[in-house]
């Protein structure tokens, strides 16, 4: 049930935020007032359907300005969404996350949760955030202008949601394709192939937005609460967790995307969305405690 709800939310959010059909048909992008605001997930603002801006693109646009200004607007945006949702955004509201989830459903290859050397590679997203989004955007120049280094050299979401639909509908853009496009297309292809075998490789190892939201996971409003006293240690949740987290790490770890697979897998229903202690004393809890007590 949780799986279906999540897929529905992911699809609806992606369709609603990328619903500018005129752009897809004519190879143009939306230029209205909604682009003053950002969507919470990684959604290229050069996608012909995009109604709003990409948070990482927006952060780089501010860092690309002449001189240096603290990007207050985007730091505020990350605090706002991070404090409310944490990486729930990745699991439920990110279009590129949805793409990887769908690719992972393709029934070829033996599925694996993580890449080899996961314990080291998972820090890659922080390196991308620091070096490409931060330092790269402030100090890399193309001519006299600073360049959005992450968008330019890495972002596969821009290639998939922006470049491919725009280039297929706009001939004048197509005529300008060069080596950079093929570099980015190669990265997209690699991520696509890896996504079929491994769970969300881009989110786990490269996404700077996931790195930012992960920092808020420990205290965000949306949490997965574990009722430890009712847990029978069957480890069904750990087997179900696509990010290979232990029960103590679920929800608090920066790697948890709150996909809810652990909640669905728990036979005792001792995991649920909510904040610590919120369900204490509900009738459901009391009944289960009584039942357990009677059995023992």
């Amino acid at each position: 049930m949780m799986k279906k709800i999540r897929l529905t939310v992911q699809l609806l959010f992606t369709i609603i935020t990328n619903g500018y059909t005129y752009g897809f048909l004519n190879g143009k992008i939306y230029r209205g007032g909604l682009k003053y605001v950002c969507v919470p997930g990684l959604n290229c603002y050069s996608c012909p359907g995009a109604f709003a801006s990409c948070p990482i693109g927006a952060l780089q646009a501010l860092l690309n300005q002449q001189g240096f200004q603290i990007p207050f607007a985007m730091i505020g945006f990350f605090f706002l969404f991070g404090s409310l949702l944490g990486r729930f955004v990745c699991g439920w509201l990110c279009p590129f996350g949805l793409v990887q989830d769908l690719l992972h459903k393709i029934p070829v290859f033996r599925k694996k949760k993580t890449l080899p050397f996961h314990r080291y590679l998972k820090y890659g997203k922080y390196a991308v955030l620091l070096l490409l989004v931060g330092v790269g955007s402030m100090f890399l120049f193309g001519g006299f202008a600073k360049v959005p280094a992450f968008c330019k050299y890495l972002c596969p979401s821009g290639t998939l949601l922006g470049a491919i639909p725009l280039l297929s509908a706009n001939e004048s853009l197509r005529s300008q394709i060069g080596g950079l496009f093929f570099w980015k297309f190669g990265i997209l292809l690699l991520i696509v192939i890896l996504s079929i075998k491994y769970f969300r490789p881009f989110c786990q190892y490269l996404c700077p937005l996931g790195a930012i939201y992960g920092l808020f996971n420990r205290f965000s409003l949306v949490q997965i609460h574990w009722e430890k006293e009712r847990c029978i240690s069957c480890k069904a949740c750990e087997r179900a967790c696509p990010a290979a987290l232990s029960i103590a790490e679920i929800s608090r770890s920066p790697e948890c995307i709150r996909c809810g697979k652990c909640i669905e897998a728990c036979p005792e229903a001792c995991l649920h969305f909510g904040r610590s202690g919120k369900r204490e004393g509900t009738s459901e809890n009391i009944n289960l405690h009584t039942k357990k007590g009677a059995e023992s």
Partner: protein
């Protein structure tokens, strides 16, 4: 009091977010974002 103790971390985060967002907006940063977002980003699509 109990509500505040349980929820203060994320509430402070939200409050900080709103204040920072307002400071950024007052400095004209949302307009900078809009100007970038309404032009096709050549770097994003692998041309620029």
């Amino acid at each position: 009091m109990g509500f505040w103790r349980k929820n203060r971390q994320w509430l402070c985060g939200v409050l900080a977010g709103v204040i920072l967002l307002a400071i950024g907006a007052a400095q004209g940063q949302l307009a900078v974002i809009w100007q970038k977002a309404v032009m096709i980003c050549m770097e994003c699509i692998g041309i620029g």
